[in-house]
C-alpha cells in the first residue's frame, strides 16, 4: 500500500525525518496537515515508524551488565505506585502490612497540616522574622517529606521483595508440638531473601538465631543471625542462588555471633 509517488512523494520524503523526530516544526506541521486527510499516508507513516524504530536493534554488540538490581528497583517503583494509588491491596487482609501505604500517606498529610499550623502561628510576627521562620519550616517540611519518601521507597522495596512476580514462599515450621513458625520469601531474580518468623522462644544470654540456606547439594550457607523481639523477627539477606538449587531453609540456635556451620538445635525449617 505505497501511496502514489506523484501525489504523496514530497510528503514521503519528510516522513523519515518525522519518524526520527528530526523534522523542522514547519515540516512536521506540513506532514500533519497532509495526514489529516490521507489514510494511505497515515498507514505508510506507521510502517516507516516501525522500520525506522527498530534500526536501534542494529546497535553494535556490547557486554550487557547485570541489570537485576535495576529490574528490582523498577518493579518496586511499580508496586509502590500501585499501592500509593490505592488501586488494590498488595497483601492479604490478614497481614498487618496492608495498611502501610495508607499510613504513610496519612503521615504525609499530617506533616503538611502541621506545617500549615506552624505558618499560621507566625503570621503576626515581623516580616523578616516570619520569612526566616518560613524558610526554617520549609526546610523542616522538605526534610520530613524526604524522610517520608525514603520510607515509602523502602516500603515499596519491601513490598517488591514479598510480592515480586517470581517470589517463592517457603513455609517454615517446628517439629513436634512447638509453636514457632515462619515464611521465607525468596526472589530468585534478585537474590533477595526475606524471613518473617513468629513465636520464637526467647534466647538465653550469649545465644543467637542463625538462618541457613541449604542447597540441593547439601551446602549450608549462613544467611545471617538475628534475635526476636517478643517472639517475632524479620530479616533480609542477599544471596544469589539458581532457581532450582534450593534444598531447604532452616533456623538454628547458635552461640552469639553465629557459626560457620550449624551446630545447634533446628528451631524451624522448611523446603
Amino acid at each position: 500500500m505505497t501511496p502514489d509517488d506523484q501525489a504523496h512523494g514530497p510528503i514521503r520524503d519528510l516522513m523519515v525525518a518525522v519518524a526520527l523526530g528530526s523534522a523542522s516544526p514547519g515540516e512536521a506541521a506540513e506532514v500533519e496537515r497532509h495526514l489529516a486527510g490521507c489514510a494511505a499516508c497515515r498507514a505508510e507513516l506507521a510502517v516507516i515508524r516501525d522500520s525506522v524504530g527498530v534500526v536501534g536493534l542494529a546497535a553494535p554488540d556490547a557486554p550487557v551488565p547485570d541489570l537485576a538490581a535495576m529490574r528490582a528497583r523498577l518493579l518496586a517503583r511499580a508496586a509502590g505506585q500501585r499501592v500509593a494509588a490505592g488501586r488494590e491491596p498488595f497483601m492479604r487482609s490478614d497481614t498487618p502490612g496492608r495498611r502501610l501505604g495508607p499510613v504513610l500517606l496519612a503521615l504525609a498529610a499530617a506533616a503538611i497540616l502541621a506545617v500549615g499550623a506552624g505558618f499560621y502561628r507566625y503570621a503576626a510576627a515581623g516580616r523578616h522574622q516570619l520569612e526566616a521562620r518560613l524558610a526554617a519550616e520549609r526546610a523542616a517540611a522538605a526534610a520530613e517529606i524526604a524522610g517520608l519518601r525514603d520510607s515509602l521507597a523502602s516500603a515499596g522495596a519491601m513490598i517488591a521483595a514479598l510480592t515480586g512476580p517470581e517470589v517463592r514462599v517457603v513455609t517454615l515450621a517446628a517439629s513436634g508440638t512447638r509453636r514457632p513458625g515462619g515464611r521465607m520469601f525468596w526472589d530468585p531474580a534478585t537474590g533477595r531473601w526475606t524471613l518473617v518468623a513468629h513465636d520464637l522462644p526467647a534466647l538465653g544470654a550469649g545465644r543467637t538465631y542463625q538462618l541457613w540456606i541449604i542447597t540441593k547439594g547439601g551446602q549450608k550457607v549462613s544467611a545471617g543471625t538475628f534475635a526476636p523481639v517478643a517472639g517475632r523477627a524479620m530479616m533480609q539477606a542477599a544471596y544469589p542462588l539458581p532457581r532450582d538449587a534450593l534444598g531447604a531453609i532452616a533456623v538454628t540456635e547458635e552461640p552469639a555471633g553465629g557459626m560457620p556451620q550449624p551446630t545447634g538445635e533446628i528451631i524451624i525449617s522448611g523446603a
Binding site: 525525518a17 526520527l20 523526530g21 528530526s22 515508524r49 516501525d50 527498530v54 523498577l74 531474580a189
Partner: protein, 186 residues
C-alpha cells in the same frame, strides 16, 4: 496481527498496557539488553547507558496507556523512547563524538539471556541494515544514532541536501521492504 518486527506476544503486551507488573518484568527481561546496547551506542558511556535503560523502562511503564499499536509496533515504540532519552542526555552534556557508531561488521552475536526471539530479530535487523549500500546506511545511522537532521547530515558528509534526502528515502524503501518481509508481508 501485530505487524511490528520482533513483535512481543500480543497477550503479554495487552497485560503490560493493562498494568500487570509481571508483564512489565517479562518485557524488561526481553528488551533490556537491546535497549542497553542502543543507549550505549548513542552515549558511549556504560553508566549513562544503564541510567537511560532504567529511565526508558520507567517511562514505558508510566506512559503505557499512550502506546498505540496502530501508530507503531512495540519494539519501535520502546526503542524510540530509549533513543530519545539517550540523545537528550547526549545533547545535555554537550558531548559530540568525532567518530560515528562502531562499524556493524565488528558486531559479534551474544544472545541475551531469556530473550532468544528478540535476539533473532536483532540479527535480522542488523542483516537488513548491513545490506544497504554504505552511503545509504551512513545516512540512516547518522540520523538514528547521532540524532542529526538531514541538513546536519549533508554538512557532515559534504553532500548536497537533495542527495541526503534521496539516499534516506532509498534506504528507507529497502528497509521497509526487508523488514516487511520479516513481518510476513510479501
Amino acid at each position: 496481527m501485530d505487524r511490528s518486527p520482533g513483535a512481543t506476544d500480543p497477550a503479554l503486551l495487552a497485560r503490560f498496557v493493562a498494568g500487570d507488573e509481571r508483564a512489565f518484568a517479562a518485557i524488561f527481561d526481553q528488551w533490556s539488553a537491546p535497549v542497553y546496547r542502543l543507549a550505549r551506542t548513542i552515549l558511549q558511556d556504560e553508566q549513562a547507558a544503564e541510567e537511560v535503560v532504567e529511565e526508558t523502562f520507567w517511562q514505558a511503564w508510566t506512559t503505557r496507556a499512550s502506546f498505540d499499536a496502530s501508530r507503531a509496533g512495540f519494539a519501535a515504540w520502546l526503542l524510540m523512547i530509549a533513543r530519545s532519552r539517550a540523545l537528550d542526555r547526549r545533547r545535555a552534556v554537550g558531548r559530540r563524538r568525532e567518530a560515528g557508531p562502531e562499524p556493524l561488521e565488528r558486531m559479534a552475536g551474544r544472545p541475551a539471556r531469556d530473550a532468544a526471539e528478540v535476539e533473532e530479530t536483532v540479527r535480522l535487523v542488523r542483516s537488513a541494515l548491513g545490506e544497504l549500500p554504505a552511503e545509504q546506511r551512513e545516512v540512516i545511522e547518522l540520523a538514528y544514532f547521532e540524532g542529526l537532521s538531514q541538513s546536519e547530515i549533508a554538512r557532515r558528509t559534504a553532500q548536497p541536501l537533495g542527495t541526503v534526502k534521496s539516499r534516506s528515502r532509498m534506504a528507507m524503501d529497502k528497509l521497509r521492504d526487508r523488514l516487511g518481509m520479516l513481518r510476513g508481508e510479501t
